[in-house]
């Protein structure tokens, strides 16, 4: 079945005023609807610029010169797709006017003009999904960094956006919290998700596609197994997943290819096939 393209970038370049180098340099990709895309790269690779461009923050709110074309198709309802953006620093995400976590989650819904009962219902549902129910009446400034990051995600998910962009949303979470969040995001089926993260192991398990940025250039955009194998062969400066390293150490390639697996499921299958 042919996969329908939802977001298309055609030779897109971005340059900030007074900057010498391009922040994004000749980036092209086609992303299907409901795809989960992991975004990786070192500092100043262009990840945040890429996310802000997708969200429309560039050039609407941050001025920059853009060349090339970015096209986001309209969904079935013929309405412009809505976009949710989660910042790396969760405090930046918060309105600063809410006294309670519940107020903060409700902020976007109040702005959208929803009825009180609808707001109440949606806030409770999202709080339950993100395990925030017990802190709904606490102040957003008095909860832990990890809880704040979950709250930041809740403020975006509650408005049910078509496209979800998350810029390093697990930076203040403990390992268990990170794994939990990745699992939760993987279970979302109605959104196209772009997730910037350094958690390469979790990202390989989560993503349908990985894109690797370096100095504004898109080095790769493909399924995780191809990207990671390519990264190792070309010695790209990035971390490799533990599963990949383990498989490589044991010389366990996937059937019919010379590529090593990058997810636990595929590794298990490779080991199982070898046992047979």
């Amino acid at each position: 079945m042919a996969v329908e393209t939802f977001i298309t970038l055609d030779r897109v370049s971005v340059k900030y005023p007074n900057a010498q180098d391009l922040a994004l340099d000749w980036v092209s990709m086609s992303v299907p609807q409901f795809a989960k895309v992991g975004v990786i790269g070192n500092s100043d690779a262009g990840k945040t610029t890429f996310c802000q461009l997708l969200a429309g923050i560039i050039p609407e709110m941050i001025h920059a010169r853009i060349e090339g074309q970015l096209q986001i198709d309209r969904n079935d309802t013929k309405q412009k797709p809505s976009i949710g953006y989660v910042f790396q620093d969760p405090e930046s995400q918060l309105s600063g006017l809410a006294e309670t976590v519940a107020d903060e989650i409700a902020f976007g819904l109040v702005n959208a003009g929803l009825s009180e009962s609808e707001i109440d219902q949606r806030v409770k549902r999202i709080a339950q999904e993100l395990e925030l129910t017990s802190i709904l009446q606490q102040s957003p400034t008095e909860i832990s960094g990890g809880q704040q990051q979950r709250l930041a995600l809740a403020t975006v998910l509650v408005v049910e956006p078509d496209i979800l962009i998350l810029d390093n949303p697990t930076s203040q979470m403990d390992p268990r919290g990170k794994a939990w969040l990745f699992e939760h995001l993987a279970a979302l089926k109605k959104q196209t998700i772009f997730l910037v993260s350094d958690e390469i192991d979790l990202l390989c398990e989560f993503a349908d596609y990985l894109c690797v940025f370096a100095q504004g250039k898109l080095l790769a955009f493909d399924i995780p197994a191809r990207v990671i194998n390519q990264a190792d062969q070309n010695h790209w400066p990035m971390a490799l997943p533990a599963v990949y390293q383990f498989a490589k150490a044991l010389s366990k390639t996937m059937a019919g290819t010379y590529r090593y697996p990058v997810t636990l499921g595929r590794l298990k299958r490779v080991m199982h096939d070898d046992d047979d």
Partner: protein, 258 residues
């Protein structure tokens, strides 16, 4: 005071008389005291206003919080005293000398007046900020018909000092963890504050930019926004409004006619 607040049930208001006074009266009181300090350019009137506001803050059980905010504005006041004391255009009468620096009476008097006004603004703002919740103030102003973007700007200005203070504490704790001594003698404390200033300013600016982006993405400027239908009750609201508004008119009239 809080009759129905589905998302604010956890609010705890301090038990004091100020909980029965509406935000409008507190805004008007703020306007009155600031206008009075502008109209009467005398140190003794300003000192009297400061004392009155200190007593009001004390009776509202918020003096400790207010003093923390005041301490935060002391840096601004001390630079003002230094610069005006040395370089005020009408400086004529030397009052004392430290090394090769000569301070002048006119400059110090002028700086003291400006400092008094800063203290009056801060203390009256504290009375508004610390006796009301930010949400209550926001809803009140929205219900008056003020567009939400202006309400937000006003609230941001009112609450920027406490927020900067919280950020500074966070940076200081991080620096103490890295071995910077943040306690002890005044000199040591002052030296410890200096390295926090640049990260504090950068952090505040970055957060402000990111927050403005996040707010726009969250429909901050949406025309569909509904003012939350939460009810608060206050006592003497109308009477206080008339009284304080008349006081404000009298003060402004004084500027024109005197």
């Amino acid at each position: 005071m809080l009759k129905k607040a589905p998302f604010s049930a956890g609010l705890v208001h301090k038990s004091s008389w100020t909980r029965h006074i509406d935000p409008g009266s507190k805004f008007l009181l703020m306007a009155d005291t600031i206008a009075a300090s502008m109209v009467f350019s005398s140190l003794s009137v300003n000192l009297g206003l400061i004392l009155c506001l200190l007593m009001l803050n004390f009776s509202a059980h918020i003096l400790h919080k207010s003093l923390v905010v005041l301490a935060f504005s002391l840096f601004l006041i001390s630079t003002m005293l230094l610069i005006q004391g040395l370089f005020y255009a009408q400086n004529q009468t030397p009052i004392f000398t430290i090394g090769w620096l000569t301070f002048y009476q006119e400059g110090l008097q002028h700086a003291a007046l400006l400092a008094g006004r800063i203290l009056i603004i801060t203390l009256s703002a504290c009375l508004l900020m610390f006796t009301m919740t930010i949400g209550e103030n926001t809803i009140y102003l929205e219900k008056l018909g003020l567009p939400f973007r202006y309400v937000y700007a006003l609230m941001s200005v009112c609450y920027i000092l406490p927020q900067m203070h919280a950020n500074m504490r966070r940076i200081q704790l991080a620096q103490q963890a890295r071995g910077v001594v943040g306690s002890g003698r005044l000199r040591q404390r002052f030296r410890a504050i200096l390295p926090t200033l640049i990260p504090l300013i950068v952090m505040t600016l970055t957060r402000t930019i990111n927050r403005s982006i996040a707010l726009r993405l969250r429909g901050f400027e949406s025309k569909q926004r509904q003012t939350p239908n939460w009810q608060y009750t206050y006592i003497f609201a109308r009477g206080l409004h008339y009284l304080l508004f008349l006081g404000l008119l009298a003060l402004l009239g004084g500027v024109v006619w005197l």
